[in-house]
């Protein structure tokens, strides 16, 4: 079934739409959630079900012209999994999954300091610009590492590079992105100042 048909079924609150959606995208969603949450099947299942529920409740927010249904679902499941990961760190009595990636562990340890942070539209605009300015390979590394929270080992396997090469390249990329992000911010600030003085 085509995405348009699935979306229109969900618009009409027809449960068949959800069934068709699960048929088409469930494997992908499970794969993304498992990459972030490790092998905790219950958490993964909850995460995927939450994704369906979010789409069901907020289908009117989905704009087909902006992104495909697959991309929209990917974003929802990723953010839901990240929130779940954050919840895991809050519940101290719960054991953390051992098979999650290093970056996910680091995120669990450090996330409380930036929790609930709202990013300004301008900051997001700068980041979009910085990421779109990267080469395809670099973009892949950044998205794999910071969007899908894949470990360096997994990225190395997928990109046929060594783990050390991945680590050093990502570290260099991060520095480059930081510099460009600040540059973008400064340029924007100067422009705004110019407009005010004019």
């Amino acid at each position: 079934m085509k995405d348009e048909a699935i979306v229109s079924l969900i618009y009409e609150k027809d449960e068949l739409g959800l069934l068709k959606l699960a048929d088409k995208y469930e494997k992908l969603l499970i794969h993304i959630a498992a990459g972030i949450l490790g092998s905790r099947s219950r958490d993964i299942e909850e995460c995927v079900n939450d994704t369906y529920l979010k789409l069901w409740n907020h289908i009117e927010r989905y704009d087909m012209d902006k992104a495909s249904l697959k991309t929209y679902l990917k974003v929802i499941v990723r953010n839901t999994a990240i929130n779940k990961l954050r919840d895991l760190s809050k519940r101290e009595e719960r054991e953390l999954p051992e098979d999650i990636s290093d970056i996910a562990k680091y995120y669990i340890d450090q996330s409380q300091s930036v929790e609930g942070q709202i990013f300004s539209k301008e900051s997001m605009k700068h980041l979009n610009k910085v990421i779109s300015g990267l080469s395809e390979r670099d973009k892949e590394l950044v998205i794999r590492k910071y969007f899908y929270l894949q470990s360096s080992k997994e990225i190395a396997k997928a990109t046929k590079m060594t783990v050390t090469a991945i680590d050093s390249r990502i570290s260099r990329l991060r520095n480059k992105m930081k510099q460009e992000f600040l540059k973008e911010k400064e340029a924007c600030y100067c422009m705004q100042k110019g407009v005010i003085y004019e």
Binding site: V75, S111, V114, N128, S132, I143, Y146, L149, A158
Partner: protein, 159 residues
């Protein structure tokens, strides 16, 4: 750039930047590697199953014994009778030799090669059978086609 900040911010980037198929590729690769591992596992199970090896060795030795002439058979029996007395000593020696031989340490390449060859034979046999069946089907279709053509011509002649 702070990694945590980047993780949080990247969840809100433009969807056009996320129209990738990295995960789909990973899934496909995962399935292929699963198949490869399965094939490897089954191949290794065939290779190293001691039960299979023992059975094959037994069958081979029985066949060899049956094919020998009667004179050699009686000679073998005599040798065995003479070996009965020092059997305990022999046992010790034989266990020591089994442990120390280099062939028993690690992978036996000849066995591996043989099993790979048999696997290749099986696969090529299946492929040949498949080609044969397809060939027969094609021939049958061709014959049937000419038959239908003739039938059509006959109909035209009648009219």
């Amino acid at each position: 750039m702070n990694e945590i900040l980047l993780i949080n911010m990247i969840g809100e980037i433009e969807p056009s930047l996320l129209q990738d198929d990295y995960m789909e590729k990973d899934m496909k690769r995962g399935f292929l590697s699963f198949l490869f591992r399965l094939f490897k596992k089954t191949a290794s199970e065939i290779e190293y199953n001691p039960l299979n090896l023992n059975i094959f060795e037994e069958i081979r030795s029985v066949e060899e014994y049956d094919n020998q002439p009667e004179v050699t058979k009686t000679q073998e029996i005599r040798e065995k009778i003479s070996d009965i007395q020092p059997i305990e000593n022999k046992m010790e020696v034989s266990t020591e030799t089994v442990e120390s031989t280099p062939e028993n340490n690690g992978l036996s390449i000849s066995i591996f090669k043989k099993n790979v060859k048999t696997l290749i034979k099986i696969i090529s046999g299946i492929a040949a059978a498949f080609i044969l069946i397809i060939g027969i089907i094609v021939i049958l279709i061709m014959r049937h086609k000419s038959g239908t053509k003739l039938y059509e011509k006959k109909i035209q002649i009648i009219y």
